[in-house]
Symmetry: C2
Subunit: 242 residues, 2 copies
Amino acid sequence: MSREAPTFSPLYRQIKALILQALESGEWRPGQAIPSEQELAARFSVSQGTVRKAIDEMAAENLLVRKQGKGTYVASHNDPRALFRFLRLVPIDGDLSHPQSVPLDCWRAKAGQEASRMLGIELGAPIIIVRRLLKFATRPVVIDEIYLSGEIFHGLTSEVLQGWNGSLYSLFETRFGLRMIRAQERIRAVAADRNASEALKVAEGTPLLSVERVTYTYGDRPVEWRRGLYSTAEHFYLNELN
Amino acid sequence: MSREAPTFSPLYRQIKALILQALESGEWRPGQAIPSEQELAARFSVSQGTVRKAIDEMAAENLLVRKQGKGTYVASHNDPRALFRFLRLVPIDGDLSHPQSVPLDCWRAKAGQEASRMLGIELGAPIIIVRRLLKFATRPVVIDEIYLSGEIFHGLTSEVLQGWNGSLYSLFETRFGLRMIRAQERIRAVAADRNASEALKVAEGTPLLSVERVTYTYGDRPVEWRRGLYSTAEHFYLNELN
DNA sequence: TAGTGGTCTAGACCACGAC
DNA sequence: TCGTGGTCTAGACCACTAT
């Protein structure tokens, strides 16, 4: 294991990159356990402590989940704990109910300027657009327009969406092998237009949160761009600053 | 060093608590270096590795800052890098300019229901209310109303605010010895009322972000509650989801 | 050159979960 | 009882900063 990388990178980071690579290649699937620290140490010819430090960082990044006495697992969006990782919307009256995703529409198009820039694909490349509603206890709260690369999400149709009973990201993970790692949201305040007011059942002109999200998979590759309008009549966007 | 705490807590966490305590007591002041890992290890009669793990966690929590070859320093809001830690507002046109805080008003009052709940003080306890404007390059972008416990911020006046040339939190830190550790923000969309429209120079009814923030010091003690209205005409609220 | 944090190792023991 | 991750130690060496 060379330590003389062009810009010096400690051994544990090289190990981290190797584990990441195995993860990316699908050697271990979401929800499954990865080999024990001892096994990995032997495989990479380093000490257990070095593997541990690599895994520590990956656990901090929500890529892996440690379970004492059992093993280390590949994080999965199927895990119910992952549900609110990217959804920062909370009912004002503490009532933390399960959101429900209602697909409204799904069609194919060609990437415009914005979509191509956000998704890092060519202008005119095939994309898929999904419109969906997010409900908390029968009440519509978010209307989303989601832009996906047609290449990656080949085979995504209304039927697939209808038939899925969970979060979108868990669908992406199981159906397309795409793991969402991190996201960036840009939030502004806008007035509800006709469409939004009908979908969210609020008066036209009602102030709404406009939330633009770009979601990244391994290697900081953007794979999803979505524009959401959030009704904050009975919910707020909760953010922890550390 | 007992390891048989009621609910088991590893040694490095006990060390962390001790360091935290020294920090809180003011033994080392913001911006100053704390003793070397070896010295702390000797002082607490543990190995350097154990101290290191404690410090690692505190560095991850932005309480300490490590500088290789030099030492470990107490984090400070005077550090320019801390400026955008709690301010997630970014110009739409990349132009990352320095915000300027303009105090408008500062008066004494008694805590109402909301303020007393948010600040964890008694109903009717003395509080100080600050109104201030945040400008980016002469343009007003945020109007804030800030609620502070009169006990803690005894001596805070308009004059003190006027005479300070930096962030509020850096004032709090140097003048009142209060270190802001973490915060929680609740964001909603609202329409600009008369006051806000005048302060932010937008039309009445313009959608604005309403950002309510509770800020905590050591021991998760809430010490500041603020309500801000953000104009998102030329800025957006940026949030990283990990 | 001296002192600091950063990395790496090897081994011992503890806590937890499953069998 | 066994295997896993979690903690703790002690020592060696590397990288950065200052003098």
